[in-house]
């Protein structure tokens, strides 16, 4: 015959099993989501840092003069741009330098063919592997008439006043 003694123990056993399964599931899912959620915040901060540095470089020292950024682009001085940019974004309040690296491209419009082209402004250094979680910061620069066109600029880029887009890839190595 069916003996109904010990039903409470059975229920307790089932409840304990469910509790252990749920606990294991929640522990695993909590930690795994936490790490992925966290990675966006440094990206966001890095992108903001890059935009702020570009805005700083695009601000002239006095009213009416050209900004450092515009001068670097219109003279095609990639090394000067690289060192100024990195000295701004690697500065910390402790005095020690941060470990950020960058590369930059310039996008322009070829007016004759009405095509968008780009050329490398700062080549990536040897820390670049292609696997970095790099962020992009951009800044419009309006160039004056270039006469003559600096060495290294592409041939189909025009010398008339024009707007170009400076795109910086920024990563931590």
């Amino acid at each position: 015959m069916v003996n109904d003694a010990g039903q409470l123990y059975t229920m307790e056993g089932v409840a304990a099993g469910v509790i252990m399964l749920l606990a294991a599931y929640i522990v695993v899912s909590t930690t795994s989501i936490y790490t992925t959620g966290d990675t966006h915040i440094p990206d966001m901060q890095l992108e903001q840092l890059g935009s702020d540095v570009l805005a700083m470089m695009d601000t002239p020292d006095t009213n009416g003069t050209t900004s450092a950024l515009e001068t670097f682009v219109s003279t095609n001085n990639g090394t000067g741009f690289n060192s100024t940019f990195l000295s701004y974004c690697n500065a910390t309040t402790r005095g020690t330098l941060d470990n950020l690296h960058m590369s930059a491209n310039i996008t322009y419009r070829d007016a004759n063919a009405n095509k968008i082209n780009e050329y490398p402004f700062v080549a990536p250094d040897n820390t670049w592997t292609g696997r970095e979680s790099a962020v992009r910061a951009t800044r419009w620069v309006q160039l004056p008439k270039l006469s003559p066109k600096p060495v290294g600029m592409p041939g189909d880029m025009r010398t008339d006043p024009q707007a170009v887009l400076v795109e910086v890839l920024l990563w931590r190595a």
Binding site: I26, I41, S51, T138
Partner: protein, 124 residues
């Protein structure tokens, strides 16, 4: 059947359920951080501020340029925005108007990247 100790079992269950709710809250709080950061990354704040500055630079320089050069710079900004930032951009400036005793020109700025739309008329 011995029914003693049922209260202890019940309290044990209640504590376990309460712990699950706390774990769920921690779980969701991580998601909140992720969606906030994603929302900030997706919102083109810097693109819009940069575009405004580019348009103001264009308006500043427009007086010294001939009409062909002006159209060229406008095309530069519109086509490069579309190509590199996936944003449809349109802007223009009108004739100066008297705004509280100062002669300012109305500048229209329109920006649309499919997620965020920004329209502005600023007297500059």
């Amino acid at each position: 059947m011995n029914e003693e100790g049922q209260w202890i079992v019940l309290m044990g269950l209640l504590v376990a359920v309460a712990l699950f709710f706390l774990a769920l809250i921690i779980n969701q709080s991580a998601l909140v951080g992720q969606t906030t950061a994603e929302g900030v990354l997706e919102f083109p704040k810097n693109d819009i501020r940069d575009l405004r500055e580019a348009v103001f630079d264009y308006v500043d320089a427009a007086g010294a340029l001939d009409p062909i050069e002006r159209v060229d710079i406008e095309k530069d900004i519109i086509t490069i925005s579309l190509e590199r930032k996936n944003a449809v951009v349109q802007f223009g400036n009108g004739t100066p108007q008297d705004v509280s005793g100062r002669w300012l020109r109305p500048v229209d700025i329109h920006y649309n990247n499919g997620v965020t739309v920004y329209n502005e008329t600023v007297y500059y």
